[in-house]
């Protein structure tokens, strides 16, 4: 059984179709990235998965459960970090984490709160009210609140948006650590370069999933430009991003004695994703 199974999911807000028949499967124990531009429907999809939104059509199963009908059971097993901090600014970090943790009857809550404070690097500021915190620190508190009850699946809605590069890489280290401990992470992002950090991604555009695959597989849909120096001339060849095509090109050119130089320029994952999104538009 996959951790998340979605079929034909649609959501309309009046005349606006936010989701238009989303089909998606997310394997357990992996970091899954939902990649898409602003307004693609990422937040709507996450809200439907965590049971905060009534959808118009389709079927959703999270750990085999219906997010609306089985929400009492499911809510103990999932964690959710919304796009906005959604915290109590006048309360200290520790009180915020304790409050959301106490919704779940976490055994030995005090000890667990200290654990997540350490994991999110907040121990020193645990007693300070959140209005003294920077945006990045509030995100860490928000993450701590989402994982205090040791959820099996964590839904993180743009956790690294508007975060400096240093904190971003620390957050990703934490995400990988959580996945290594067996959790499934469902992370939305509009930052295409983060897709490479996921085990698997889905690209969402205007309420539809364009493609869902491992980032390395998606990368192969890009192009590779070869510049081959031969007889004092430079020759350009465009081949696909598939490793087999690269090997074939090397066999063709790279092994002969008159080839003096070969340089390779491969599309980045970001540019492949962007061209996939644009292809859809065309």
């Amino acid at each position: 059984m996959d951790a998340i199974e979605v079929s034909g999911l649609s959501k309309r807000y009046g005349r606006v179709e936010a989701l238009r028949g989303v089909d998606l499967r997310v394997p357990g124990g992996a970091v899954f990235g939902l990649v898409g531009p602003n307004g693609a429907g990422k937040t709507t999809l996450i809200k439907a998965l965590v049971g905060a939104l009534r959808f118009t059509e389709g079927k959703v199963r999270v750990i085999g459960k219906d997010p609306l009908k089985d929400r009492a059971e499911l809510r103990q097993r999932i964690g959710y970090m919304p796009q906005v901090p959604a915290l109590y600014d006048d309360l200290p970090a520790r009180a915020n984490i304790e409050f959301f943790g106490s919704a779940h009857r976490v055994p030995d809550l005090g000890k667990r709160v200290e654990e997540v404070l350490r994991l999110t690097d907040l121990t020193d500021r645990a007693r300070d009210p959140l209005y003294t915190f920077s945006g990045g620190m509030k995100r860490r508190v928000s993450l701590a609140c989402a994982l205090v009850h040791r959820p099996e699946i964590l839904f993180l809605d743009e956790p690294t948006a508007a975060v400096d590069p240093q904190l971003r890489s620390r957050l990703w280290e934490t995400f990988r650590k959580l996945a290594a401990d067996g959790a499934t992470l469902f992370i939305s992002t509009h930052l295409m370069d983060e897709a490479m950090l996921c085990d698997r991604i889905a690209i969402l555009r205007q309420g539809r999933i364009i493609t869902s695959d491992a980032p390395r597989q998606i990368l192969q849909r890009g192009k590779t430009r070869l510049l081959i120096g031969k007889d004092g001339k430079e020759e350009e060849r465009i081949i696909s991003g598939r490793p087999e095509d690269f090997a074939a090109a090397l066999r063709l050119y790279g092994l002969s004695a008159d080839v003096t130089a070969v340089s390779v320029e491969a599309d980045s994952l970001e540019s492949v994703i962007l061209s996939l999104i644009e292809e859809e538009v065309a």
Binding site: G51, A52, R75, V84, L91, F99, A103, P129
Partner: protein, 244 residues
Amino acid sequence: MRTPIIARRVISQLLRNPRFLVLSIVAPLVIVYFLKVFFDTLPPTLDVGRYAIPVAAFLVHFLAFLLCAIALVQERTAGTLERMFVNGFRRTEIIGGYMLGYLGLATFQAAVALAEAIWLFKLDYDTKTLAALFVVVWILAIASVMLGIFVSTFARRESQVFPFVPLIILPSVFLSGLLMDADLLPEWAQWLGHAFPLYYANNVIQEVIKPNGSLNNAWGSLAVLVGYGVALLLLASRTLREVE
């Protein structure tokens, strides 16, 4: 039940906002004083007692309603309400927690505003009357908190609460018998007056402060006031949306 968890959080937020707390206690005090200044300009034959306590009750009603309504709407705009639901809190727990959380503040407001009105206007009531007055203002305060919670379940933003303020609060000034006997109003206006909790509170107050008056003659209105609060509690637990 996780109601106490929410109540504890609401109270600790209140305690961490001394400015808000002081303002919500001082504001009725200052306004009751303005009332005194105003009444001092009127002929001394006027029965001030008939107005002083009902106006103090009105202030408590207004503030308890407004503060609670805004606090709950802020939870929706900040996303913490959605987060509470996703974390498994139920709507009855949230509403109950808010009611318990604001109960303390409402009690304090009721006690302080009443004490000041009695002292400033030199009202000479016996202990039994004072106790009865406190009970009715306190119940009104609870009903007002419930009204605030109920109204806020319809609002998505703070700006959507404000239109309800004149709609609910201002007509009750004229229709609930606060300024004159409600019986003098045209019949339809009297009926409309029955929709406001202040009407029942005022009924009880007028009955209690009569010479030889007592709570015994006002059980009916007091019961309606209690029922009003309970009905709002039940309604709010239906109208607070758990899923968008």
